[in-house]
């Protein structure tokens, strides 16, 4: 990717969204055929309350130029209060991010409900435009290790998923 801030720069944006509001809102944008920028990759989580702030750091470390976090509107959480926990957590995290060297302009927080396909489109397009303006996020990526190892399949002595296949068959039968 061209490190110069140029017209050929295509931002990579990772979106952490909750399953019930924003993911469904993005589905609605699809069923409504609302065309939008293709730079956003969505990671589906049950609730914004599930989002560990380290996910965001990891995304930047792995090459994201921008991050979107979006969930249910306050008081609409499928799990009653997960989005309130997320909101408080990110209020605190906002400062820590700057301490870690993350530019807060690269993070977008929004509430998109299941009925707001059009709002999701706006969030996507505005974020892409903002990040395009800011340029690639080389500054943070430079801090991360050069060679990115694939995430190991076996962690801490756990059996790799592949070797569990016979057990899986038993369970299913």
């Amino acid at each position: 990717m061209n490190s110069q801030h140029s017209d050929t720069f295509e931002p990579r944006i990772t979106a952490f969204v909750c399953n019930w509001c924003t993911y469904t809102g993005a589905d609605l944008a699809g069923t409504s055929r609302l065309h939008m920028a293709s730079n956003v990759r969505i990671i589906r989580l049950p609730c914004t309350g599930r989002i560990d702030p380290l996910f965001i750091v990891k995304a930047f470390e792995r090459g994201a130029d921008g991050v979107i976090v979006s969930g249910c509107h306050p008081a609409d959480c499928h799990y009653t209060s997960g989005n309130y926990h997320a909101r408080r957590r990110f209020a605190v995290f906002h400062d820590i991010m700057q301490f870690l060297g993350v530019d807060p302009r690269r993070m977008t927080f929004s509430w998109v409900s299941a009925s707001e396909g059009a709002k999701w489109k706006d969030v996507v397009n505005e974020t892409v435009a903002n990040i395009r303006e800011l340029g690639p996020y080389e500054a943070y990526r430079a801090l991360a290790p050069d060679a990115v190892e694939p995430w190991p399949e076996a962690v801490d002595g756990l059996t790799p998923a592949g070797d569990q296949e016979p057990a899986a068959k038993e369970v299913a039968s």
């Binding site: 699809g30 990671i43 599930r50 990891k58 299913a172």
Partner: protein
């Protein structure tokens, strides 16, 4: 190493038009861990699913990624196919390349590249999926209904008729609720008591219904299928097993001037009383706050100041020393039917509301609310069904009915419409005109909302046949002028001020959630809306369920409801409870949090953030049984799988199955494969 199968769907042309599906399948074939990759026109069709099943067997697949539509659409379909082919169904995931890709992009190259990225992300996730088993929870086939109004009675009868035991809890001394106070019901004008009291008796005599009256909910433990509810049986001072309801006790009670709740304050009752003659159970309760004996005891008198009722009771059923009793009921489902109260629109307001001091409610006896009018019009009411005004017992010749007092008023009342007032005002106007032929009924309204079966015809009948005068506009002031009440209003259709000399005014005050609903909702882990009504799980698709599994809503605890609505909701909860009880075990998706007891430090931060109270503390014991520490434990029956606990865990000991840290970090990691 994983052997993952990738199946790219064209969805006819829905995906194929903008995404080069063959290129996606080809690109993903080389992704590490992928054993098989293909594309097909309609993957969800029978031949498409057959491809998946065949590949699972042929390639001995350990995971399946279907790149097609949203998981909300066809995840179940493909998981079922995997299950049939012998692969654990939780090893199958959807990569959404339709809603999130082909439908929202135009450029074929961009869309294809994005589809490949989405596919890779999900492949990386599936590598870390684990075979899971559906969670099974035993069900106690016994239900509790909280509230014994028409909704609660209906729900209890439906469940009991379905063959299951029901515990019906009512905070008053008798079941029946507000419906027992009504004179006649719209739109048929049939007598409320005549249709309700048989139901009350049926509930009382039903072999499957256990009744707790004069009781409240103290505590709720447990979860769907396995609730433990502690019921506080308030001290009644009357032994229901001995009492035969003869009435000797209340005949001798010297405290005779206590306002009757049943007659909405329009008549008096004694301190030991049955709320109304048709009460179920038809046995008295001793109101300790107003009893001479208990008032004496509270003052510290050494000798009891009274004791007449006990002396009069030939059955020896009265005991002044009974105390509140606590009963634990084990039930599998709970129906909440706590009903409503009316907005007391007097000048004094306890809850930060402004009230309607200008209407003089509570200050002038001839300014009454809808329930008081019901009692005046009722054959069993204080006037025996004759329309007589409370101040001097004269027949009022002009009655003004004011709609929307406290409803649809953001400034001084509730923002919502109370739903039943338009109809009962029309009914009141009719009942009045049927009894006072030369009387004049004037109704001030904002809009007439009569949107039920036969409702509009009914309210038109009040105007056309019974000649009620409907004035579109609001009332600004009501005040006493000698024998008359001056009602100042405005007729917006004629654009003129209207002043009416009335003999009696009936205010259609707003419907509000009953007292104590908020506290009850907290005990049930349910939420309430800004107005205090209990929230349903989904306003359209799950209107009688709550976000607490196994807790259902019937009637006006959820929003203002008329009788047909409340009964329909009650029967819906009955159906929900019966379907819950139709199996011996509940099946749940295993998307729940699990605690690693090896690393958990027992700080219990997870329990603090859990919206469901699903996390409890457990003791860890040494071999010889000594407690040596604590750890968190997630109850899989209660956990709903939000994952909020996982994000706060200090020692990284709690993981949400189906969205584990490994899975999410793998997805994020797949992002480095962009370009």
């Amino acid at each position: 190493m994983s052997r993952i199968g990738v199946f790219v769907c064209h969805c006819g042309e829905n995906i194929g038009r903008t995404v080069d599906c063959a290129a996606v399948a080809e690109a993903l074939k080389d992704h590490p861990g992928v054993a098989h990759s293909e594309d097909y026109k309609y993957m969800c069709s029978d031949p498409g699913q057959a491809l998946v099943k065949k590949a699972i067997e042929e390639h001995n697949l350990t995971g399946v990624v279907v790149a097609a539509c949203s998981p909300h659409m066809h995840e179940k379909t493909f998981r079922r196919a995997c299950d049939q082919a012998g692969l654990n169904k939780f090893m199958c995931e959807m990569a959404n390349i339709r809603e999130h890709c082909s439908w929202i992009h135009e450029d074929r190259e961009d869309a294809t590249a994005k589809a490949i990225d989405i596919g890779r992300t999900i492949i990386e996730k599936v590598k870390h999926n684990r075979p899971l088993e559906v969670i099974k929870i035993p069900v106690t086939k016994r239900a509790m209904v909280i509230g014994g109004g028409i909704a609660g009675i209906q729900a209890a009868l439906d469940i009991a008729d379905g063959g299951h035991e029901v515990v019906l809890v009512e905070k008053e001394a008798s079941i029946g609720g507000h419906m027992s106070q009504l004179s006649e019901t719209f739109p048929t004008l049939d007598c409320s008591q005549c249709i309700l009291t048989p139901r009350m008796v049926e509930a009382y005599q039903h072999p499957n219904i256990k009744l707790h009256t004069w009781s409240e909910i103290e505590k709720v433990d447990g979860y769907i299928g396995n609730f433990e509810v502690t019921v506080r049986k308030k001290a009644r001072s009357v032994d229901l097993d001995l009492c035969n309801g003869c009435g000797d006790c209340w005949a001798v009670c010297p405290s005779k001037r206590i306002p009757s709740e049943f007659d909405a304050g329009l008549s008096n009752r004694t301190a030991i009383y049955v709320p109304f003659p048709q009460a179920v159970p038809n046995q008295p309760v001793l109101d300790r706050e107003n009893c001479t004996l208990f008032k004496g005891r509270a003052k510290g008198l050494k000798k009891d100041a009274c004791g007449k009722c006990k002396d009069a009771c030939l059955k020896n059923a009265i005991d002044y020393d009974t105390e509140d009793e606590f009963v634990v009921e084990e039930v599998g489902a709970i129906v909440v039917a706590t009903g409503y109260k009316l907005y007391d629109v007097g000048r004094e307001q306890p809850e930060g509301l402004k009230g309607y001091g200008e209407y003089g409610y509570g200050e002038d006896p001839d300014i009454i609310d809808g329930l008081q009018f019901e009692r005046i019009a009722s054959a069993s009411g204080p006037t025996g069904g004759e329309i007589l005004r409370p101040s001097d017992g004269k027949e009022p010749k002009t009655v003004v009915f004011v709609h929307c007092v406290g409803s649809r008023d953001i400034d001084k009342g509730m923002a919502y419409c109370s739903k039943i007032c338009c109809m009962y005002n029309a009914k009141h106007a009719m009942l009045y005109k049927h009894k006072v032929h030369d009387g004049r009924a004037v109704a001030f309204y904002m809009d007439i909302r009569a949107n039920g079966k036969g409702y509009d015809e009914f309210s038109r009948r009040a105007i056309e046949e019974d000649h009620a005068e409907y004035v579109r506009g609001r009332v600004s002031r009501i005040f006493r002028d000698g024998d008359k009440l001056k009602v100042w209003g405005f007729d917006t259709l004629n654009d003129e001020q209207v002043i009416i000399d009335a003999d009696m005014v009936v205010l259609a005050t707003a419907i509000r959630p009953n007292d104590g609903v908020k506290e009850l909702a907290q005990k049930l882990s349910c939420s309430v809306d800004v107005d205090g009504f209990i929230n349903e799980a989904h306003p359209k698709l799950r209107p009688v369920e709550t976000n607490t599994a196994g807790v259902f809503l019937a009637g006006a605890c959820q929003a203002p409801r008329d009788i047909p609505d409340a009964v329909a909701m009650a029967s819906a909860t009955g159906a929900k409870v019966l379907s819950l009880f139709s199996a011996d075990e509940l099946e749940r998706e295993p998307a729940v949090a699990v605690v690693d007891e090896q690393t958990c430090i027992g700080c219990m931060r997870c329990a603090l953030v859990c919206p469901y109270g699903a996390i409890e503390q457990r003791e860890i014991c040494t071999v010889d049984g000594q407690v040596c520490g604590h750890t968190a434990y997630v109850n899989p029956g209660v956990c709903q799988g939000c994952g909020t606990c996982q994000a706060v865990c200090l020692s990284n000991s709690i993981d949400l199955q189906t969205f584990t840290d490994e899975q999410v970090y793998s997805e994020i990691n797949a992002l480095c494969m962009w370009e």
